[in-house]
Amino acid sequence: MIAVGGGKGGIGKSLLTANLGVCFARSGKRVVLVDADLGGANLHTCLGIDLPAASLSDFVQRRVANLEDVVVDSGIDGLGLISGAQDFLGSANIKYTQKLRTLRQIRRLQADVILLDLGSGTSFNVLDFFLSSHLGIVIIVPEPTSLENSYRFLRSAFYRLLHHRESARPFLEIIEQAMLPNNDKAIRTPHDIIRLVGRMDPERGDRYRAWLSSFRPLLVVNQVRSPEDAELGPAVLLACRKYLGIELDLLGHIDYGDNVWQAVRTRTVLMMQDVESPVTQRIWHVARQIEKRMESLEVAGRERLKL
């Protein structure tokens, strides 16, 4: 189960999810794409198909009991799709119990790879889907707004993780304080929380520190147009490590290419075209990197949030 997120909209989450899905399917895996962008679903468009009749809404609204029943054929061998919720009414705020039920059933889907296309923003739903996945991919594009959102996303995700794992009141309050942008305890980074908590309870501080170092989201730099843009990945890794203490794992970058949006317009999937282009090569590279991470997961196992 792999989540693709990144805080900001319009950075290519859905497109990359769709194309990575095609990569995995073409290497013989059973893949299900889940459009978890509640309220802004358009993964079907990235796959070049019409809005399927069955969607995640049917499951969330309990019109369908089994999540398997809303998996539709994407038209590509080995690739199934769970289309996103199309309700206008507050589907971005599904109930907590619904979220648990959905996550539980996503995990039970019959597939080798499940790719979740997350919505933008840092709502608890988005974060929880991200944290519950075995691998979480954060996509950035070389723009200040994207980085601003990504850092916020990463920070929020880690705080949310702490919040799930913590159960004692005074510490929960510190974490909740940290989630407020201008909290009066001046908590701005995970370091600040760890320091504050460590003063009250050193063992707990150590535990938090261990959680921080095992929190390793993957990073993809998308829409790279220049060699300078391509250097952004390592720089972000460095900045993130120094400031937030979060160690990212860089999967690679993907060039900006006109063939990407052209493919969407002609309602085809880029990775299904057999033309080799810089973009397709890059996507294949990222897919292989992910496969490597998945293999090491199978060997080592990996703790993730169990909701």
Binding site: N93, K95, Y96, T97, S123, F124, P142, E143, P144, L147, E148, Y151, R152, R165, S167, A168, R169, P170, L172, E173, E176, Q177, M179, L180, D184, T189, H191, R195, L196, G198, R199, M200, D201, P202, E203, D206, R207, R209, A210, W211, L212, S213, S214, E231, L232, P234, A235, V236, L238, A239, C240, R241, K242, Y243, L244, G245, E247, E303
Partner: protein
């Protein structure tokens, strides 16, 4: 991973203590680019002041580590510090010296078999003046002053917190910090300061002040391990049985006092847990509760309270124009039942 303010020069440049000149050069150049003032990577992460500080420290690190003589002095200074400062347990000091120090530690621990109850070793803060020109350069790390921070000593609150034993202990995920030199140590979150060589009055760099020096605080959740009466997670279970029977919706007339109690009663009538509202609105449950119990001293600035109230009204299906100002007036009047639950 440490805050960059607490990192030594090697950690700042992310090189090993054995790094060659070339590795230091490369690392420095990369850091310089990443933390340049026009770098996109740092946007919205570091404040301008932090960036200036970080750049200054990186420059310092580079200047010292690329100067053989200054690096040697710095290494010597570092090696006097706690060897656990080194992520891989190695120090630039030669191994003989290390073993010697390990011996000293062991001795020291034998002398103090139970330092649990003893007052912390005083930290040696005053160092004998080294040659004046050394001081400026070798001064290893800008650490935070070890002032006891205001962290309120967690008043033993009635048992809201779950007993700590029930927590998932993820011990296997703990960072494999190599603990070669202190293998004989009892594993009980021993304060790092013990490792300092207090037996011989060696000059100790300011980095030794880094471990939190505040008094050890009582561990609340260990002493209070009653049944979890109101665990937050219970809210979820409750939300499924909320349809069964809800209290009636309170009537709001012109003379109904608009107060926290009213908010609470409406919420209960709507069958909503505080947790649920916190989840939807992203308002801290702490503040939501304080709104209800009118603990006005523990609410954020008025402008935020106004926003909270508006959100709350929309969820509780209350007329915001009627509630928000009336509640704020109450807040301005300074009423409220401080701290009462």
């Amino acid at each position: 991973m440490k805050d960059f303010r607490e990192q030594n020069y090697y950690e700042l440049l992310e090189v090993t203590v054995h790094a060659s000149q070339q590795e230091i050069e490369d690392s420095y150049r990369q850091a310089r680019r990443a933390f340049a003032s026009d770098s996109v990577a740092t946007y919205a992460l570091f404040s301008p002041e932090e960036l200036v500080l970080l750049r200054r420290r990186i420059e310092e690190a580079y200047r010292v580590l690329t100067d053989a003589e200054r690096r040697r002095l710095y290494d010597r200074e570092l090696s006097r510090l706690d060897s656990t400062q080194w992520p891989d347990g190695e120090t630039p000091a030669d191994t003989k010296q290390q073993e010697q120090r390990a011996d000293e530690q062991r001795q020291q621990q034998e002398q103090e078999p139970d330092n649990e109850d003893q007052p912390r070793l005083p930290l040696v803060e005053s160092k004998p003046p080294p040659p004046a020109d050394e001081v400026a350069e070798v001064d290893p790390v800008v650490t935070e002053p070890a002032e006891p921070v205001e962290s309120e000593p967690v008043e033993s609150e009635p048992v809201e917190s779950e007993p700590v034993e029930s927590e998932p202990v993820e011990s296997e995920s703990a960072e494999p910090e190599s603990a070669e030199p202190k293998s004989g140590e009892p594993k009980s979150g021993e304060p790092e300061t013990v490792v300092l060589e207090s037996t011989k009055p060696e000059p100790v760099g300011p980095e030794s002040v880094a471990p939190p020096a505040g008094p050890a605080l009582p561990r609340v959740e260990k002493t209070e391990s009653g049944p979890a009466t109101d665990a937050p997670s219970a809210g979820e279970a409750a939300s499924t049985r909320q349809e069964e029977q809800l209290p009636p919706l309170p009537r709001i007339d012109d003379d109904t006092p608009i107060d926290g109690e009213l908010l609470r009663r409406v919420r209960l009538a709507r069958g909503l847990e505080l947790e649920r509202i916190a989840e939807i609105t992203k308002i801290s449950i702490y503040y939501l509760r304080n709104l209800e119990i009118e603990d006005f001293t523990n609410l954020p600035a008025r402008v935020y309270v106004r926003g909270y109230l508006k959100q709350l009204c929309s969820i509780l299906e209350l007329d915001a124009s009627r509630i928000v100002d009336a509640y704020l007036a109450r807040l301005d009047a300074g009423g409220g039942r401080e701290g009462e639950g």
